[in-house]
Subunit: 413 residues, 2 copies
């Protein structure tokens, strides 16, 4: 098996040069998304629901170089609406870098001069990996809702196969926040020997009833949009650009609801409070949707989201979150997490009410009960659930030494 | 001015008899909604937005008898989707009693053998008081969105006029929770001499940014429903029964979102958790909206709501909540609340995240700073924002002596 060329040529030293410096931000510079086909006939993926799909295309990016011993690979699992584009830019005039760009780069939390970092779009996603917008080989048309229901376990199985296909026998660590943290937990439960460490941020071993409730409203908003058409909204000559067809209003609404749950009461109060958007006095217009700054902001978030996301894909991914329940699947949390020798770093955030600290403590308790090695911190931040994406320095202080020590220990054996 | 007959004939003793015993529940028995026309030409109500409306019909109910001194009147302000039907039943075969039935009755928190209790549907509502579904005298058709934007101040002005028209010079107390608590606060700010006491439960002196955010999503859900038609959805021969026309999906969605905010994380976890609705295993159906009990429950709540509420009315009332900001209106909370000699009883609930205790403490601080008489308690309950409706005994222990003492003091003067 061939070790693939990496997309980036990270500087050997921390001072940026070459492609990295071209971004002038100390990050990873220019990157390209790669694609790999897995589960091709006659070996389709048997999903946890019992149905099969294949072949599966996986979109992924890598940063840094795999060591000759192939022992320095990190896999980053993205959250609900993330994608393979973890860091860097796709072209020099790219407007925005990858979703966790500030955390990835020489000297940063995930350092491509030390590690070979992989990030892939999840199964069911809409940024290159097989999902409802992909062509169903049996019909020549997009799957739409003909794609079977997917689970976090299915996503992880696909990523594990990607890792294997890249010639990596054991990852140094799997890292993720939110749905990404759920994937990290599921990965170590399903493949206990697949990694030396797990870093799980702002996540949980199951989605809370409140989380299911918010997803239920988002799902409903999409499904009652007349343009949803039972998911069969792609035009006959192939899907259009996101935002140009399908349940735009419903998807934007779903995003608005979800976005509120990502913010904390404190951050929303500080950032917006009751400030008006364009005036110093009330408009007294019933239908005005941009009277308050927070309204404008939510509508803007909804609008931006539909330009980059597929509504069917959103339905698949939130359903996978709803279904995620490690104790139910493995008998108990102890059974799920007690089979591995991986080290765990777990963080929660004091203002995160979507994935509250109590849920991280359940994971920690199960790990301690089964004698696993776990470090847990409830971190302080005003940013609510989004903290894991925003509190970069706080996280680096933990992740950098945790990964170094994991690498040192793994090389001792 | 004539003191109207009361609807109920409460037993003089605590042991139920006559109409009260006919309900067999120790409550107020049979009641009838009454109607009064106010602000008739040439004296329309000048709204806070600057526009005028009139005449205004007010639907109200009363329980107990006004004392000869007219000094025992309590006014209960209902919350967002409440109405004038506070307690009792409209007929012997009425399926459900009024919305706070358990709190009203002989020996209960609000005792009709001692007090004359008034409850009225708010301006902009849809249960008998003038609102968007009422006939606009200028067109002969329902107002729809031709009704000007209404504020909590406007609601209170109408209620104050109703009280005056009933021959009551000064209320013993104004009582309300949530939007009802906002009305109570606004009432004492706008009419500082209109009552001897204010009881304000689970409320705030302004709606938080997070509250505006949830309202913005509910508003959007209604407005993008194709059946909303800019609020012009009433059939030509007059409005149909609720639930038979208009933005049903949008209104149900708005209710589902709001309903989540009324529950606490604890109560939703205890009541539903991750339990499935009809099965012991996952259905693996993407579009199934009743897989989890919490989903079924929310859909049921949405469905029930549209059968009893008008979507336009909902838009008016949530806008009034958005706009509510006493400090902005009166210069400061101290100026708003410092003009009265009324006594205050204020409660918040430890699991209420929609109107958190911090917002009640702001009110208390302003009252203390201006030398007012205020008692404040943060009460423990698992029920979140709904606690004020559900924790009856806890509330009675405070309200019964508070009202007795208020009556005693008011009669001393």
């Amino acid at each position: 098996m061939t070790v693939p060329l990496t997309n980036t040529a990270p500087s050997p030293a921390h001072d940026s040069s070459g492609e990295i410096s071209s971004a002038s931000d100390g990050g990873v510079g220019l990157v390209q998304t790669q694609y790999r086909t897995l589960f091709a006939p006659p070996h389709p993926l048997v999903l946890e629901c019992g149905q099969q799909i294949g072949p599966i295309t996986v979109a992924y990016e890598t940063y840094g170089e795999l060591s000759p011993e192939r022992d320095n690979a990190l896999f980053v699992c993205h959250a609900l609406t993330g994608d393979a584009h973890l860091a860097g830019r796709h072209s020099a005039d790219d407007r925005k870098p990858g979703w966790w760009d500030k955390f990835v780069g020489p000297g940063r939390g995930l350092d491509p001069t030390k590690y070979f970092i992989i990030c892939a779009n999840v199964l069911g996603g809409c940024q290159g990996t097989t999902g409802p917008i992909s062509i169903n080989p049996e019909t020549g048309k997009p799957y739409g809702l003909a794609l079977p229901v997917l689970t976090v376990g299915d996503m992880v199985t696909v990523h594990q196969e990607l890792v294997r296909s890249l010639g990596i026998e054991k990852l140094l660590a799997v890292i993720g926040g939110s749905l990404g943290g759920m994937q990290a937990l599921e990965w170590v439960a399903k493949f206990p020997d697949a990694m030396h460490a797990v870093i799980c941020l702002a996540a949980a071993a199951n989605l809370s009833a409140q989380g299911i409730a918010f997803n239920a409203v988002g799902r409903r908003a999409i499904m009652v949009d007349p343009n949803f058409q039972d998911g069969d909204y792609y035009s006959a000559d192939g899907p259009k650009k996101y935002g140009e067809e399908g349940p735009r209003y419903g998807l934007a609404l779903a995003r608005m609801i979800a976005h509120i749950t990502y913010l904390s009461e404190v951050s929303i109060e500080r950032k917006f409070g009751r400030r008006l958007q364009n005036s110093d006095h009330l408009a007294y217009e019933l239908q005005k949707e941009t009277e308050f700054q927070i309204e404008s902001y939510l509508h803007y978030q909804g609008k931006r989201f539909i330009e980059r996301f597929d509504a069917n894909s959103y339905l698949y991914l939130i359903r996978a979150m709803d279904y995620f329940d490690m104790a139910a699947k493995y008998g108990s949390l102890e059974q799920a997490l007690g089979q591995t020798n991986a080290r765990f770093l777990i963080t929660s955030y004091n203002t995160d009410w979507l994935f509250p600290s109590s849920q991280s403590r359940e994971i920690v308790a199960a790990l301690v009960k089964t004698g696993r090695h776990v470090s847990y911190l409830e971190l302080s931040s005003v940013f609510g659930h989004d903290s894991f994406l925003l509190e970069i320095e706080q996280l680096e202080e933990l992740v950098i030494p945790f990964l170094s020590e994991t690498l040192r220990q793994s090389r001792k054996h």
